[in-house]
């Protein structure tokens, strides 16, 4: 007879780990089923992935390239042998592709994330009421605020409260983030200085161009006044207490921080591993939820346990829990629900897939700004994340890159060599150009759409016979108009104020980008890795998959956690919001388990 747990959690990434943490701290027994391998949890293997990044990252692709292909639990964005196709896992049902990936390995996608951890702004939760767009969430910013604080403690967020009080984002009296904000780079100070008091016109309104620091789950200096003077202990590397207590400015960050100053779920899992009531089972791919027809209860989670990654053989086992929690990423949660014919009385499972379409602009500053040092980004132009223009087009944030242009110094060296510039002249020109490179990454809001979705199809299976996600994806006019505003209005304003020579161009066919034509112009878009919305929460069972506590409307003991619950994507990088939602859901689970 197999063991019975208070909760069976599908997915050993940040969302599952946080749910397990809340439950186990209350003494509940938890089984985590992780589809991928233990991988980076082993310090030697972590180091090996870092080496792969250094030596082969340039061709394997980022951010998932350093990690190994696993046919038993494949991840998008990892080149598969023998032909190395970049996205061998997704199947596409549309001409346009969904360009964001995630990692199926213990620790999940936090093994490659950037760490950016800002909150959504209040209007993101009420887009219908505020701007007549999309839908309202069943909860408000005020409802989620306490869970945001707990997520900031678990992830170890470095930020400045004063900077973050924008668009009605509020904090309780006296709250400070666990750690001080990251020191601002020279690039940040250059933009901040140039844009002080400057504005831009969008959809008939005037908006400031204001640079502020970015909250990030990376160890900076702990704030001694945190938690009423208790302070905060920066969490070191999962396997080495002498590493990673502070960011060292290695300037690798993404995908892999060499010292683990950046949060990964490995840190939370290392804490869980000491809890006697927590069992973590890797190489165990949940393939089906077993449902009692009468009560709708999930009676078990069928999973395929494989010994050797890539081998087609597996043992079929069933895990039993009072509660079942899906925490396997928005796309995997949807795929598993569809494969189980579960939780879908609304027909919304898999729909409303969202990401932030990502667009670079770049140029040369007149004076030296000394990029290529520090974390990849420490500030942004955050003043266009909300406003009346959202009645017309997408809001966006502008992330200031500390790492100059992409593909450098290779591209500039190549160009100079082709112009027969060698020796001292080459060095002088390189020094002149590299030190003046500026780049901004724009991230655009996308609205929920029933047609942007995850489906499954009998024909498309992985190495163990599980369904691969079949994706349909489009950019709506709402986002494209926002892109137009950023490129035609905001970027020219910034280059004008800051004296930047614009060097941006979007040639069709550039590798790694999706070229999209709109109103006679073309844009080279990427994904942001912000996978959101496939099992939206709501106030009514007819148009949502989960309720305000992320419990399935259809199954009384099934929770579906993480960013898939988001009704809208807003402009915040979603992990922190997903973490806050998961913590909120875990509180509701504890009520059920009473």
């Amino acid at each position: 007879m197999s063991a019975h747990y208070d909760a069976v959690i599908v997915g050993g990434g940040v969302m599952g780990a946080l749910v397990a943490r809340v439950l186990s701290q209350a003494g509940k027994s938890v089984l985590i089923l992780e589809a991928g391998i233990e991988g980076a949890m082993n310090p030697d293997t972590y180091r090996q992935y870092l080496q792969t990044l250094y030596t082969e990252g340039w061709w394997r692709g980022l951010p998932n390239g350093p990690y190994p292909w696993n046919a038993s639990a494949p991840s998008p964005g990892i080149p598969s042998p023998p032909n190395g196709a970049a996205y061998p896992y997704y199947q596409y049902a549309t001409n346009l592709h969904f360009l964001s990936d995630y990692l199926r390995m213990l620790g999940g996608t936090t093994l490659h994330w950037q760490g950016t951890s800002m909150r959504l702004v209040p209007n993101d939760f009420r887009m219908r009421s505020a701007y007549g767009q999309a839908e309202n969430w069943p909860i408000t910013y005020d409802d989620l605020e306490p869970a945001y604080r707990r997520a900031e403690a678990e992830l170890g967020v470095s930020a400045d409260v004063e900077d973050q009080r924008i668009f009605g984002v509020w904090f309780p009296e006296g709250y400070v983030y666990p750690m001080h904000r990251m020191p601002q780079s020279r690039v940040d100070r250059f933009f901040d200085g140039a844009l002080q008091g400057k504005t831009v016109k969008l959809a008939g309104g005037t908006y400031p161009l204001k640079v502020i620091s970015i909250p990030v789950a990376r160890n900076s200096t702990p704030n001694p006044t945190y938690n009423l003077g208790e302070g905060y202990d920066a969490v070191p590397a999962a396997s080495d207490r002498d590493q990673g207590q502070r960011c060292q400015g290695n300037s690798v960050c993404m995908p892999i921080c060499p010292v683990q100053a950046k949060y990964t779920a490995l840190k939370t899992i290392a804490l869980l591993a000491r809890q006697p009531t927590v069992v973590i089972r890797t190489q165990s791919v949940a393939s089906k939820l077993l449902i009692d027809k009468e009560s709708g209860r999930i009676t078990g989670v069928e999973y395929k346990r494989y010994d050797k990654p890539g081998s087609p053989t597996f043992a079929l086992e069933t895990a039993h829990g009072t509660l079942v929690v899906l925490a396997a990423n928005a796309i995997e949660n949807a795929t598993l629900l569809l494969a189980s014919n579960a939780a879908n009385s609304s027909g919304q499972v898999g729909r409303n897939l969202m990401d932030h379409p990502y667009l670079y602009v770049w140029g040369l500053a007149k004076s030296r700004v000394f990029p290529f040092r520090g974390p990849d980004t420490t500030s942004g132009v955050e003043s266009l994340r909300d406003g009346q223009f959202r009645k017309v087009h997408a809001s966006f944030r502008a992330s200031l890159s500390n790492w100059g242009w992409s593909g450098e110094p290779g591209n500039t060296i190549k160009t100079l060599l082709q112009a027969n510039i060698y020796g001292k002249a080459l060095r002088a020109q390189l020094a002149d150009q590299m030190t003046r490179m500026v780049k901004i990454g724009f991230m655009f809001e996308q609205l929920p759409s029933a047609d942007n979705r995850v489906t499954i199809d009998q024909r498309y299976r992985d190495g163990l016979g599980n369904y691969r996600p079949v994706l349909s994806y489009q950019y709506q006019d709402y986002s494209l108009k926002g892109i137009e505003a950023a490129v035609n209005t905001v970027w020219p304003a910034i280059t004008g104020y800051a004296g930047i020579e614009n060097k941006t161009s979007y040639p069709a066919g550039a590798p790694g980008y999706q070229h999209v034509a709109y109103n006679g112009a073309g844009y080279n878009l990427m994904g942001s890795g912000h996978i959101v919305g496939t099992h939206r929460m709501g106030s009514h069972r007819k148009d949502s998959v989960t309720d305000r506590n992320m419990k399935s409307w259809d199954h009384p003991n099934l929770y579906v956690v993480g960013t898939g619950n988001q009704v809208t994507i807003g402009t915040a990088n979603p992990t922190l919001t997903g973490a806050a939602l998961s913590i909120r859901a875990a509180d509701a689970m504890l009520q059920d388990l009473r």
Binding site: D44, R47, Q51, T221, P222, N223, P224, G231, A234, P236, D240, R241, D242, Q245, R246, Q248, G249
Partner: protein
């Protein structure tokens, strides 16, 4: 001997010197290990070195607490290697040398635990633990004679606090007799272990799992095996095997000196730049220990720069046909 405040301060300044003197040899052995080899050895040496940095800082907190003025930049603070470590019973010299069995034996000698019956002696200390035990007794004696408030007269603002310091172990803010005892206990337990145990006491303080004390941590590398819970000093380590490859090490010149190379030569210039950088690091630390704790940030940046300079020096042929250049930590003379 009868303690005075002045002699207590002198002893604590000597503690700064002795804690510091171990850092250049540990740093050198660590950096001499080639990239991606001897990973366990590199981690062990680095972890001990980080704890010596903590001890240096604890010594500064102790000295500041009793109204002293930590000095790290005076002539001779960086010893000339080979160096006979104070309070070691004059038994051995420390060299600046590559990671090797010989270096490990020296490290074991540095970190040798005190015998159970070793008592603090009046003048001569055979181990660093004896020395600290004497300092602790001195503090007690002075507190009893003058009262705690007359001994701990230092300004609180001169203490290095946990928000300014990070690294192995726990920084202790010293404000009186109890916290002074805790700071000394932290130094002695990390270094030499508790009583008859292989493991240090950090797990009690930080909850971060047991780690063998320095002596046993190094000993694992000579024995090629890890200590695990339940192992005793007598029986030795019975845990997992540790692979050590003494050949995967840069063949650096021991106790190199900038002055060994002709004036104006690139190697001389690079070694002098390294010594200069080391002097600047000590100046930043001295500043941090004298009322400007924020200068630790500047010190950390200098440490990274020194690491990169050291790696470059260790991969530069010395010209003797066999070795590469070593390290010379001597800062240039002032003026």
């Amino acid at each position: 001997m009868s303690w005075t405040i002045a002699s207590l301060r002198q002893h604590l300044q000597a503690a700064l010197a002795v804690e510091h003197a171990t850092i250049p040899p540990y740093f050198t052995a660590w950096i001499s290990i080639k990239d991606n080899t001897n990973i366990a050895a590199a981690e062990i040496i680095r972890s001990v070195m980080l704890e010596e940095m903590l001890h240096l800082t604890l010594a500064a907190n102790l000295l500041n607490a009793v109204g002293g003025t930590p000095s790290l930049t005076h002539q001779g603070f960086v010893p000339r290697y080979p160096h006979r470590l104070p309070f070691s019973g004059d038994r051995f010299d420390i060299d600046i040398e590559r990671f090797s069995k010989r270096a490990l034996r020296t490290f074991l000698a540095i970190e040798r635990p005190e015998g159970p019956r070793a008592k603090p002696e009046a003048k001569k200390f055979h181990t660093i633990a004896q020395f600290y035990a004497a300092v602790r007794d001195g503090i007690d004696e002075l507190c009893e004679r003058h009262g705690e408030r007359k001994v701990f007269t230092g300004k609180a603002a001169r203490q290095i606090r946990p928000d300014a310091y990070y690294g192995a172990g726990t920084i202790v803010v010293v404000a009186g007799r109890d916290s002074a005892h805790r700071a000394i206990a932290e130094v002695c337990e990390q270094g030499e272990g508790v009583h008859d145990s292989v493991f240090d006491a950090d797990h009690n303080v930080t909850g971060s799992g047991k780690e063998p004390a320095h002596y046993y941590r190094f000993q694992q590398l000579l024995k090629g095996r890890e200590y695990r819970k339940g192992d005793t000093p007598k029986a030795g380590p019975t845990g997992a095997r540790i692979e050590v490859d003494f050949r995967a090490v840069h063949p650096i010149t021991p106790n190199a000196r900038a002055t060994d190379y002709p004036k104006g030569s690139p190697i001389r210039g690079a070694l002098e730049a390294f010594g200069h950088g080391y002097g600047q690091l000590l100046a930043s630390l001295e500043g941090a220990y004298n009322g400007a704790p924020d200068r630790l940030t500047e010190a950390i940046a200098r440490m990274f720069a020194l690491r990169d300079q050291a790696r470059a020096l260790m991969q530069t042929p010395s010209g003797d046909g066999r070795n590469t250049v070593g390290l010379d930590f001597t800062p240039p003379r002032a003026g």
